[in-house]
Assembly symmetry: none
Homo-oligomer: 541 residues x 2
């Protein structure tokens, strides 16, 4: 099977999408997940263009890379000498094995944007590539606007590729930067261009003509062996070629090898994960991975699919980690629920009434807007509460939050009354906002009972509006990520009231920590009896 190298640029080109802005932490999370998926190259950013990207490369070095090579992105030199070019120096400073630089192929750009002679541009392409090669980098050369350039001035466009090859480029990538090319043109132009080149070839397209996946597969058929794109097709204007679709099409329909076979079922969770971090909702009709991608509505279709799924499904949804849905009468994965329970060492088999009841409850909650994929902490608590009759660590009597703005000063204060093992605890705390005040008040009320709560802090807090049309009266979903020294866990709350949703997620976050410690205390006592310390456990008995 011919291997196709996947080159992801979600962190650079994807971040050019309107409305997307990644923190360094976001980028690290995404990079780790894409590495695990088995992608071959992950472009981390343009270190010469902004300090955030440079910081990413500093931190990314410490990640335990398993599959992917990290690539830094930049332009060919602008300065007279490569060694003095700040952009090329920033690329070297990123200390990646792979460097990708783009150069101008289109004479219009050379003249009107760079404002230099055609000859000079060829020189700086060759120079820049050679400079990076001399510093031991694998160099990928992105021929910006290749197709437009070829159509405007074929001879010059081809010369620019030769310059990159002369400089020693390891791969030359044809870019449909403006996204205006048709598959038939891509096939024809690459066939012509590759005659003069003995360098491995790649393709990078944009979706401005709604054809990015098609132009990419046309280029692969024409001989390109590296495919650049972004998860979910994020990117400037109409986005880049969608790597998720491309992996599925290339591997499942065209017989190329992209990722290990068993990774294909990661496509759906990865697409949703990256959407979540990008704080963008994934359109439900997204090919392969959308919630509706294998949803059947019409009666004719539903009937036929029940007889034989291939009647209205082009592939088995499980292959890409998605699932069939029958709209109205929802049928879903009891087996995945059983699998999850096993993971937690909970006793649940597929045929029990408990499994049926749990599945119904989960479906009900998901219908209300809960989304447990990003909130495993809450899912675990839910299963344990249902299957093991988990006793709560505390109960709420009531809380009150006051936010007052006057003379440009804003004060947020929460008072709370909790009951722990029959003991009533009432306290109050201020905060930077209502949720922070509530968070502070809970911890203050609980700390004498459970001192180890001091080890934990909230590391992420996300709010998403579910029913956008309802404006400020809409249902909101709050996702909280918490961590202590050893672990991190996600919890969730859903309500029309952001305070109530935050409360649910905060309670789960605290209970998860207490439950986790309870278990590790038990384990700890078994293995190292001598080193027993006084623990929160005793407060509870």
């Amino acid at each position: 099977m011919t291997r196709i190298d996947l080159y992801d640029t979600t962190l650079r080109d994807g971040a050019q999408a309107e409305g997307i802005s990644y923190s360094v932490r976001d980028k690290l999370h995404i990079a780790e997940r894409l590495d695990a998926l088995g992608l071959h190259y992950i472009e981390g950013g343009w270190p010469g263009s902004n300090p955030k990207d440079a910081e990413f490369f500093r931190q990314a070095k410490r990640l335990p890379w398993r599959n992917a090579q990290l690539a830094a992105f930049g332009s060919t030199r602008r300065a007279a000498h490569a060694a003095k070019d700040p952009n090329l120096r920033a690329l070297l400073a990123a200390e990646t094995r792979v460097v990708t630089i783009f150069g101008k192929t289109w004479d219009l750009h050379v003249r009107n944007v760079l404002g230099i002679s055609l000859q000079d541009n060829l020189r700086l392409i060759e120079d820049s590539v050679r400079f990076l090669k001399r510093h031991g980098r694998t160099v990928i050369y992105d021929a910006e606007h290749f197709f437009d350039g070829y159509k405007a001035n074929r001879t010059y466009a081809l010369k620019s590729l030769e310059a990159a090859a002369q400089g020693g480029a390891d791969t030359i990538v044809f870019c449909d930067t403006n996204g205006g090319s048709l598959p038939e043109e891509v096939t024809r132009l690459i066939a012509d261009a590759k005659r003069g080149l003995s360098v491995p070839l790649g393709i990078h397209t944009h979706n401005d003509s709604d054809l990015a996946v098609a132009t990419s597969i046309a280029a692969v058929a024409a001989g390109c062996r590296q495919v650049q794109g972004t998860i979910n097709g994020y990117g400037e204007r109409c986005g880049n070629a969608n790597l998720v679709s491309l992996i599925a099409v290339l591997q499942l329909k065209m017989g190329y090898h992209c990722v290990p076979e068993e990774k294909l079922k990661e496509l759906t969770p990865v697409a949703h994960y990256v959407a979540e971090i990008s704080n963008v909702s994934l359109p439900t009709n997204r090919p392969f991975v959308g919630a509706s991608a294998f949803a059947h509505k019409g009666g004719v279709h539903v009937n036929a699919v029940m007889k034989d799924p291939q009647t209205y499904e082009h592939l088995d949804p499980a292959t890409v980690g998605n699932q069939r849905r029958v709209l109205v009468s929802e049928l879903s994965g009891r087996s995945s629920l059983v699998l999850k329970a096993q993971e937690l060492a909970l006793d649940l088999s597929k045929e029990t009434p408990a499994a049926k009841r749990l599945l119904k409850l989960l479906q009900q909650l998901e219908h209300e807007g809960y989304h447990f994929e990003a909130a495993e902490g809450s899912l675990q608590l839910l299963l344990k509460r249902q299957l093991e009759h988990l006793k709560p660590f505390f109960t709420l009597e009531g809380f009150r939050i006051m936010i007052e703005k006057h003379d440009h000063k804003l004060v947020s204060e929460a008072t709370i009354t909790l009951r722990v093992n029959g003991v009533l605890e009432q306290t109050a705390a201020e905060g930077h906002g209502p949720v922070n005040a509530l968070d502070n008040a809970i911890r203050k009320a609980l700390r004498q009972f459970y001192p180890r709560l001091a080890e934990m802090h909230l590391s992420d807090f996300k709010v998403r509006v579910l029913d956008e049309k309802a404006g400020t009266a809409a249902k909101v979903r709050v996702l909280i990520e918490s961590r202590d020294q050893e672990a991190s866990w996600g919890t969730i709350g859903v309500s029309e009231n952001i305070i109530e949703a935050s409360w649910q997620a905060l309670v789960d976050s605290v209970e998860y920590k207490l439950l986790k410690d309870q278990k590790s205390d038990v384990r700890g006592r078994r293995s190292v009896k001598a080193t027993r310390r006084p623990r929160a456990r005793s407060d509870r008995s």
Copy 2:
């Protein structure tokens, strides 16, 4: 120029999309708009399958059709005799000039879904077409699953097409019903099939492989002269081929004639109109017609586009009724700002101290977490406040919000004191949460001064945590989208306190509306002096 007939099935296949459900009125509205756009066929529904569709056909007869022919959709007969088949009778009862019927091409479907012999299926295809022809209809035959059927049993698939031709079909349409085919297959299979046919050909594809536009244009290149699809690609699972993209690609890039040249600029408004009626928001990155389709963010791109738009635009956005937008973000520079000011008819040139000061202010705000590319309303207000010394429409004296949870009941109440032209207004309101309560209180306090605020509502509310490490004490960014009958606008607020951030975004949202109306009032008064109505303006002077 070769003419391509456009066949829209938004009202039938589009309505199969998860979450879409049209009333008869919705359907009539959409049909009128698509007729005006110059489409050739509009499929109104399946009259045999539900009474709503039959009602649509009754009412649609009265519309003043200018360009399109209305088509009724149904299946080949199931009953022993065509004349007694309820489905075919319902098709005739719809009284459309055009009838489209689908038949089975794939032997698997004939055997396992219809449960009849292969021979019988051929007979009922031919019969059903002939019956409709005898009743004077133009008959379009949809060969369901043509490509899958061909791959499973080529001989039989081709025979089924011959049966339709024998029956007298006016057009035979190759359907990629499951959306699993590749462009290359479409080209090859149609080339083979058309050898035996002298009937005009059409194509109908689905987007399950992210290739629906590509397979459609491949079919046109292979000789199909009718293209079926839906506006915005609505449809079951991953949707149908997007007619909006197809019109643009076929006419602007491939030189076919689809709609009168002057209608192309209707593509953007039509796409948004149909999205609005479908109650679905149009993804901003939608090719040709999305709000981001010609939006430029990176500094390099913005600079180049200012010199020459074709450097990063595959076509002039005005051609399809869209427009260029410059996103002002951390990635861009002073030229973007100047361009944005020009867009707003504000006086700002690149070299003035005002431009430098504004840029510094913007960079400072973005550093603090503001993100104006998603909040053009706030950006406009900011520029106008800075450059035109905009007078505020009201000032805040103070507000207080109380959220109380007790006995599982949660109450949110806001009290607010505002000053409008010296008049003090104090009021209180409840809400589904603190922000909704505040929103309600502001509107209640202002409505006597500015009655037109009643026209506006909040259509989206997004919250993003900026500094995740800080947990619930983190800075949050609130983005609000508001709309009235004519427009929508985004506003932003940033603070460690979600209530303060929401307050900022709410104030901008209201001020934007008031400023917009002020301007349109002035315009209105200039042009139609006689029809002046009492207006909010008077409250302010």
